[in-house]
């Protein structure tokens, strides 16, 4: 097993190298650069724009640009953003905790709810509960997420009042929206207790994110469980006279969770990439918006930083998933 892990880690190096070349090439094919946003700005002369383009080396041939980038990156310097002129790692380090905070909570919440619901739904297949769950899961996956977020704001922020306004919990005098329409903290003159404030700001964005993931996970869990429930070894367990609870939790769950493990392992790297729609709707300064803004501006050092970390995480968590299989299913061996 150890040898297998080491081999996979060594293989990752050339993979990352190829990824870096491909990603860099693709970014450079896009015809914009960080100065393109100034092209029609009457406050800067075309001469000065041209001078800056040369200063930053935007018109250098692509292999020169790549060489510059890779040589500084190998020395541990990811370069500076061309837009904010701050180190790429500073930009990422500033956004990543916000993303982890929002997406991480939504992810865990979705998982904690999805696993029991998916299992019950499978065990009581075709029950009223099962029908309700499948309907909900179907809707959760098909609602346009952007629209759903706006609905949450219109419903719970613009049109509902906070009944606790003016109390110790929310010192702000009424009227105060039930939940804030965005942002991470209260910026007014009457901020609530920091912990209350955090939770208060998280409710709507976490709901928006979790509903979609929940719907997805429930379907995987239910399907995995259904696959397992009618297999011989479960029947054997029942025949041995084991209690229902023991059959489900000890024998069925481990195998039923396999598809979900794959999905989760591949989803964890996405936590790093952030959730663009949720971050946009709820004014949450996370990785999704950093990536989107950088792509829009053609800020390629930042893009490369995000994409390379993301690629590394994907490779790593694929390995984790493979190792987890071996743990969950003794039939799988790597040596």
């Amino acid at each position: 097993m150890t040898r297998y892990i080491i081999r996979r880690l060594i293989q990752a190096v050339p993979v990352l190298f190829v990824v870096s070349i491909m990603v860099f090439g693709m970014i450079q094919i896009a015809p914009n650069n960080p100065l393109a946003a100034y092209q029609n700005n009457p406050n800067i002369t075309p001469e000065d724009l041209l001078r800056l383009e040369q200063e930053y080396g935007f018109n250098d041939p692509i292999h020169i640009k790549y060489f510059k980038w890779i040589s500084q990156t190998l020395q541990g310097n990811w370069g500076d953003s061309f837009v904010t002129h701050r180190p790429v790692m500073t930009e990422i380090a500033e956004r990543f905790p916000n993303t982890l905070y929002l997406s991480g909570i939504a992810f865990l919440l979705a998982l904690l709810i999805a696993i029991p619901i998916g299992m019950i739904s499978a065990i009581r297949q075709y029950s009223l509960f099962d029908h309700a769950v499948t309907t909900f899961a179907f809707m959760g996956q098909s609602i346009p997420i952007f629209w759903f977020g706006l609905l949450l704001i219109i419903f719970f922020s613009a049109n509902m009042q906070n009944p606790f306004a003016g109390t110790a919990m929310f010192p702000h005098p009424a009227p105060l929206p039930l939940f804030p329409g965005g942002g991470m903290t209260d910026l007014g003159e009457y901020p609530p207790d920091p912990l209350v404030d955090r939770i208060w700001h998280l409710v709507l964005p976490v709901t928006m994110l979790a509903v979609f993931q929940l719907a997805q996970h429930v379907r995987y869990m239910r399907a995995g469980m259904l696959d397992v429930l009618y297999q011989d070894y479960i029947r054997t367990a029942h025949a041995k006279g084991l209690r229902e609870r023991a059959v489900i939790l000890k024998h069925a769950f481990k195998n039923a969770a396999m598809p979900l493990v794959t999905v989760i392992a591949l989803e964890i790297p996405n936590l790093f990439n952030g959730a663009l729609f949720t971050e946009t709707i709820f004014s949450w300064p996370g990785m999704g918006r950093l990536f989107f803004n950088s792509a829009e501006r053609g800020d390629y050092t930042v893009l490369m930083g995000i994409l390379m970390i993301s690629a590394t995480l994907i490779i790593f968590f694929n390995l984790v998933a493979d190792v987890a299989y071996a743990f969950l299913d003794p039939r799988i061996r790597y040596d």
């Binding site: 015809p31 650069n33 309907t135 609905l151 613009a158 007014g188």
Partner: protein, 578 residues
């Protein structure tokens, strides 16, 4: 089983209804249509005046939402509009432009002019009397700070935006800390924009010039303005606290200003409605129906400078080095004028812009440089007659033909802009009616309006007609010079040139050159207007419409004076909260 299916259908139906109910916007609460004082186009709303008797109230927190993330707050390093609109809370120019377009003194105690001797007759020497005030960190604001700012600007590879402009400053002498003598190599009509738009004064202790790009100052600038930056949380908010030592006695009134970054304009509108924010910058025509229904919101609307236009290529597309051979179709003045007469601008404004725009007339359309050029009338008969005279005769399918060539023209704009795409459809219809075939071939804006190095068609002259919006700055010289002077026809030697229509008219060149060297505003205006009129007559740019600057304020905000030239908080020192 059947009973279960019924239950399932029932549950689904209930859920659908619940969602539908959520979706229905504002069911019954429609407020009486009294509140929002929207204005007819062309005249700004009269903002609420502070009541004389009570006087402005002190205290409170004002919140503004902006949809873009300011990349920093240093206007010597970034010229994004949002950066300026936020940084102006802390940073002041030597002079500023008020909401009427007049130049007013700020850090200079008076605006230098020929009359007061601040400006020399040859326009090369400008003498500023500087205000005795302090930077936010307590050090004195002096002439040395101007010297330092110039040094930063001209330091090679510093990332500064205005190196070429500042290279035109020969010396800055400091006879005493509170006066500055700026000597220019070449006089320029917009001299007043130095340190007042073309960069702003920075304190000499801000950092080393060669490390300019990475100064901590860039995110927390030290200014002289009414507010100081106390917190900059990237992508979330920027907080400003009142500067107790502000040079205007007793001002500002408001204690704290918070700028929140809200990327979605739908959400911005909800925050405005719920009162979570007081000011929203950059509303669009599409927001108007919602804004007009908000009883707690006052709206500012005034025409924007410049506007959407068709830029016609007067030279033959294909060879970037050839800027002489006329365009086979658009090289003919009569064809260009026919296109101008054939477009129904009013219908575009009515159908695409909710009626909230003004018909495009010319390059300079608002004060202080309003040329009052008459827009081309919508005149189908005239358009047809011009095409007949030019020798283009209707063919079998109604599209005109001349010497076997079809009157077919490529019509491009940026992709993904619904407003532009909708107006394109109307223009294509208009053209069909006069026997001209426009075919659409849109491109992403980064490609269409990119740089020479990126092979942008407008730079390389490889287009027939491109449509987009551009505008002059408050001083029109740069726009007039770059877009219409023959020197600025883009070429391998002048890749920055912006005369995309290849308008080559010695008379226009002469007018722009003369105006650029003058300091007398009325005379300059006259010359620029003559040049702008020549462009309109020559129909190298065909102006479609000018949009409105739309800013919204909660009714508790008093004392605002908006203008199209600046952000909603430009006069924050005079604003207060009811």
């Amino acid at each position: 089983m059947n009973a279960r299916k019924l239950v399932l259908v029932f549950v689904a139906l209930v859920l659908t209804f619940v969602l539908a109910a959520c979706a229905a916007p504002e069911p019954t609460k429609a407020p009486a249509p009294v509140a929002a004082p929207t204005t007819a186009p062309a005249q700004p709303t009269v903002p609420p005046k502070p009541t004389e008797a009570a006087g402005p109230k002190k205290g409170g927190t004002l919140t503004m939402v902006v949809w873009q993330e300011p990349e920093n707050l240093n206007q010597n390093l970034s010229t994004m509009t949002v950066v300026g609109y936020v940084a102006e809370l802390a940073i002041e120019g030597l002079v500023a432009v008020d909401n009427k377009g007049a130049i007013i003194p700020v850090l200079a105690t008076e605006v230098p002019s020929l009359a007061n001797g601040g400006l020399s007759a040859d326009g090369k020497t400008i003498t500023y009397k500087l205000r005795k005030t302090k930077w936010h960190d307590g050090t004195d604001f002096t002439c040395d700070d101007l010297v330092f700012t110039r040094l930063v600007q001209i330091t090679p590879n510093s990332g500064s935006l205005y190196a070429i402009d500042f290279a035109n400053i020969d010396t800055i002498d400091c006879p005493n800390p509170n006066s500055a003598v700026v000597k220019l190599k070449n006089p320029r009509g917009d001299w007043w924009r130095y340190f007042s738009g073309l960069g702003y004064a920075m304190p000499k202790n801000a950092g080393k010039p060669e490390e300019f790009k990475t100064w901590a100052y860039n995110r927390k600038p030290i200014g002289t303005g009414p507010y100081k930056v106390t917190e900059f949380i990237t992508g979330d908010h920027i907080t400003f606290d009142r500067n107790p030592n502000y040079w205007q006695e007793g001002k500002p009134y408001i204690d704290k200003v918070v700028v929140r970054i809200v990327p979605s304009s739908e959400v911005g509108l909800q925050l405005l409605k719920s009162g979570e924010t007081d000011v929203m910058w950059n509303n669009t025509e599409a927001d108007l129906p919602a804004l007009e229904k908000m009883p707690n919101v006052a709206l500012f609307a005034a025409p924007q400078p410049g506007g959407e236009r068709l830029i016609l290529n007067l030279t033959k597309p294909g060879d970037p080095s050839d800027n002489k051979t006329p365009h086979p179709i658009l090289g003919d003045l009569k064809v260009r004028q026919a296109i101008a007469y054939g477009i129904d601008k009013d219908s575009i404004i009515k159908n695409v812009l909710n009626g909230k725009a003004i018909p495009g007339a010319g390059e300079l359309n608002i004060d202080p440089y309003n040329c009052n050029i008459k827009p081309y009338a919508f005149d189908v008969a005239k358009a047809k007659q011009l095409l007949d005279e030019a020798g283009w005769k209707p063919g079998a399918d109604g599209i005109r033909v001349k010497d076997g060539q079809r009157l077919r023209i490529k019509y491009q704009t940026t992709t993904g802009n619904k407003l532009r795409e909708d107006s394109q459809v109307l223009v294509v219809e208009n053209m069909k009616a006069i026997g001209v075939e426009f075919f659409i071939e849109n491109q992403p804006s980064s490609l269409l309006i990119g740089s020479w190095g990126a092979n942008s068609p407008r730079k390389k002259g490889n287009f027939d007609i491109i449509m987009y919006t551009t505008n002059a700055a408050i001083d029109p010289h740069s726009q007039m010079f770059n877009y219409f002077h023959s020197k600025n026809i883009p070429s391998a030697d002048n890749q920055g040139g912006a005369n995309y229509s290849r308008w080559n008219d010695p008379e226009t060149d002469k007018l722009i050159d003369q105006a650029g060297a003058l300091f007398d505003w009325p005379k300059r205006k006259d010359l620029y207007c003559q040049a702008a009129a020549r462009v309109v007559d020559g129909a190298s740019h065909i102006y479609l419409y000018g949009r409105m600057t739309l800013q919204s304020f909660n009714t508790r905000v008093q004392g605002w004076l908006s203008s199209s030239w600046d952000g909603p908080l430009w006069n924050i020192a005079d604003q207060w909260l009811k």
